[in-house]
């Protein structure tokens, strides 16, 4: 189950509203490499993960991504408060405003609404962990691009925190992948899927060979 803690993982206090920034940053809420996709990806994939270390990793990182989703929502909310119609028209935020006013909706910066097609849950430990490693790097690149576009330090600080988390998660997933391949038969990483095929762990394999 999940329980709510009434605080952000890292504080968000933005003094100056800026609808243009909000329109860019919302991509990390509901865009292709955003926090919602990340969370759903890991919290879905974890059910078919074969080893306790990987069940733990996917559960914990998937949970942290929900905290990141909340931070991005807070950033977008604070960037769009007290806007005048003139500011909305001039900034280009009008195309979002017409559909959602200043409500926070999971959408990419381009306007494409969130879709589960952004993620995969393949039921294969090697496949899923490679997707996860790629996802962390894609999110890191998106945060780098946001930092190229945004000058306000109030916005940059939480974005820099989130960028660093992608790097740590990438490191942990890399360790998870190494751990998985260590537990599987070295000659058959790609031939067997331990969450579907029964005898593919190193130890099972040895036992089989001994019987013969």
């Amino acid at each position: 189950m999940f329980q709510y803690e009434k605080k952000l993982q890292y504080p968000v206090n933005i003094k100056n509203p800026n609808p243009k920034y909000a329109q860019i940053i919302i991509s990390q809420f509901g865009g292709p490499d955003g926090e919602l996709a990340a969370s759903l990806r890991y919290l879905s994939q974890r059910f078919s993960m074969p080893y306790p270390e990987l069940k733990g990793l996917l559960t914990d990182i998937g949970t942290e991504e929900l905290a990141h989703l909340e931070m991005i929502g807070a950033i977008v909310y604070q960037l769009t408060r007290n806007l005048t119609i003139d500011e909305i028209k001039k900034s280009g935020f009008d195309t979002y405003f017409v559909d959602h006013t200043t409500g926070v909706y999971p959408v990419a910066a381009s306007g494409a609404p969130f879709t589960a097609a952004y993620l995969q849950s393949k039921g294969d430990v090697i496949t899923d962990l490679h997707e996860d490693l790629a996802a962390e790097q894609k999110a890191r690149t998106t945060y780098d691009n946001i930092l190229r576009l945004v000058d306000d330090p109030d916005v940059r600080e939480p974005i820099k925190f989130l960028r660093e988390r992608e790097i740590v998660h990438y490191q942990r997933f890399g360790e998870g992948l190494r751990l998985a391949t260590d537990k599987m038969n070295e000659k058959n990483f790609y031939a067997f899927n331990p969450s579907f095929d029964v005898q593919c762990n190193k130890n099972c394999f040895r036992r089989d060979n001994m019987k013969k």
């Binding site: 009434k6 605080k7 952000l8 270390e53 990793l57 604070q78 408060r81 998660h169 360790e175």
Partner: protein, 83 residues
Amino acid sequence: MTDRETLLKKLSALQFAAWELHLYLDTHPDDCDALELQKKYNCKSKELAELFESKYGTLNHMSGSGEMWLKNPWPWDIKECAI
């Protein structure tokens, strides 16, 4: 920064350190030093969370409901509106 914000920042820092070690321990479950350090951070954050909640209201449903839960600021509220 208000006293509430300073205390919340300290609490967040401690909880973050414990969380970072928690993730590390998923892939290094036998690292005793990391386990010890994590215990230390968890202990300190529990103490500080109690202090924070006694002063500024509940952080989760386990430590209070109703007005206790509703009256303190929500995490996305902006500073000038915070009560």
